[in-house]
Amino acid sequence: MDVWLIAGILFKILVVVGISQGAVAYLILVERKIAAYAQDRIGPNRCGREVRLPFGLLQPIADGAKMLLKEDVIPSYVNKPLYILAPAIAIIAATIGFAVVPFGPVGPSAPTALGAPFQFQIAPGVDVGIVYVFAVGSLGVYAVVLAGWASNNKYAFLGGLRSSAQLISYEVPLGLSILGMVLIARSLDLNKIIEWQDRNVWGIFIQPIGFLLFLISSFAETNRLPFDLPESEQELVGGFHTEYSAMKFGMFFLGEYLNIITTSYLVVILFLGGWDLPFLNAGQTGWLPAFLKAFVLLGKVGAIVVFIMWVRWTLPRFRYDQLMDLAWKTMIPLAILNLVATAIVVQYAWGH
């Protein structure tokens, strides 16, 4: 029994890591395509033409091969251990955060396999699910800071410095914005939050401010435009990854996109009902509804990812003081207000 449990978990890890890394490769293609469309261009469309695949569908393979085969330069002036450690942290922090994210039905509605329920989550039943995600997610800042420090380069250092200030500032509204949802669902477990939304309404309707704050802070946490100050190609020639080449650079990319996927999952799970649609509910068990739920969740996540890329081509980068103003003077007070109001309503008006 235990052997099967471990085998099941290993299988899930294999599938999830494989799919998410493959997805990252294709997300880069999607990003390039959307970037091109927003600028009235076509984007990559040559790779795969020989085998009659449209839209440059083999481009990710070419990109990956390029990343792996290029010369991996380690400059002589860097702090070597930290320089090598930084991209590893980026990718590890982004990957293990996914352990508690449910990518399908978990709990009573999970389908059964070999006499045991098959949970669509690598580590099911973690009570502090969301806290774990944030804890691991904030480890990602070490990747940027260490990369900036170890590179021994002014641009990289400035990028790392900005990143540490930015990520620390936006952790606060990020954490505060979900507390309203946690109070309402009365659980930190992501599955219980989905089930509450399935029984009642989606989080976006009951916590619109929380949703907005969470979305904005997750943009900042993933270093996406308009919050990409750590990278700022125009001012910092790439910021913290200036000195990185080949697959080490690719690992930062991989980490960034894995972060986007994890964050998008969180947005969907916390505020867009997870796998919930009007005809899907927790009562349905079996494999077919389970896969349907997983695909609905995936579809919503895809929509959020595309939205993140869409925003990238709409909003210009913040100035540094505006960035800090937004976090400390607007978002944190709003988040606290939202939290207090929610707490009062939950405690007195709903009379739990």
Partner: protein, 218 residues
């Protein structure tokens, strides 16, 4: 102008309303703008990209590309080796060695024994074309020249004359082309100039494909 000058017009930025101060309407408008572009390319083919090797960019009529040396009615080189182009050239990329014209070349005194243009040095300003008193040197619309070495990009008289044979149908001389009968047809492709479609026999040659769009000298 002094700060209290009465003719100074002072503008104050418009006051933002409460809603505008949240920047939400502006962000939504911006998203709308990018959405329009994305939709335009995805569904209405509004992209401005030219798929280069397949579709050739057609330059405007005054485009200045590779040089050519024109031929006269007898099929001889038109140039009289007066050195005006070489003098006018701001980067000194033209090198001419003049010699007495051979017997039977009409009233010509001189002709260029050698006429060499360094296409890598040339800035394609068109001064040589302006300076030429006999319309012997002209700039064509060929823009896609490649070479594997610097030596290959130094065009001699033969090469420049063959550019004329290559482009004379698409771009007639300013004074009108000499009659077809006197000019030998050049059939083999040039080693250095690679117009994309010419490499592919299925597609029409570039000169033919772009012929209607050209109209210089009519």
């Amino acid at each position: 102008m002094r700060p209290d000058d009465p003719s100074l017009k002072r503008l104050t930025p418009p006051k933002l309303t409460m809603l505008e101060k949240t920047y939400v309407p502006q962000i939504l408008t911006g998203l709308g703008v990018t959405y329009k572009h994305i939709r335009g390319v995805m569904f209405h083919n509004k992209d401005i990209t030219v798929q280069y090797p397949e579709d050739q960019h057609v330059p405007t009529a005054n485009y200045r590309g590779v040089h050519r040396l024109n031929k006269d009615e007898d099929g001889h080189i038109k140039c009289v080796a007066c050195m005006l182009c070489a003098t006018a050239c701001p980067v000194h990329c033209i090198d001419i060695v003049g010699a007495s014209a051979p017997e039977g070349w009409g009233e010509r005194e001189k002709y260029p024994e050698s006429f060499v243009i360094d296409e890598l040095r040339c800035i394609f300003c068109g001064m040589c074309e302006e300076a030429c008193p006999v319309d012997a040197i002209e700039l064509t619309k060929l823009y896609d020249i490649t070479g594997l070495s610097r030596e290959e990009m130094i065009f001699d008289k033969t090469k420049l004359l063959s550019v004329f044979d290559m482009t004379k149908d698409a771009e007639p001389m300013k004074t009108g082309n000499p009659p077809e009968s006197v000019l030998p047809q050049v059939t083999e492709a040039l080693p250095v100039i690679h117009p994309g479609p010419a490499a592919n026999p299925e597609r029409p040659r570039r000169a033919e494909a772009t012929a209607p769009a050209l109209g210089r000298g009519h």
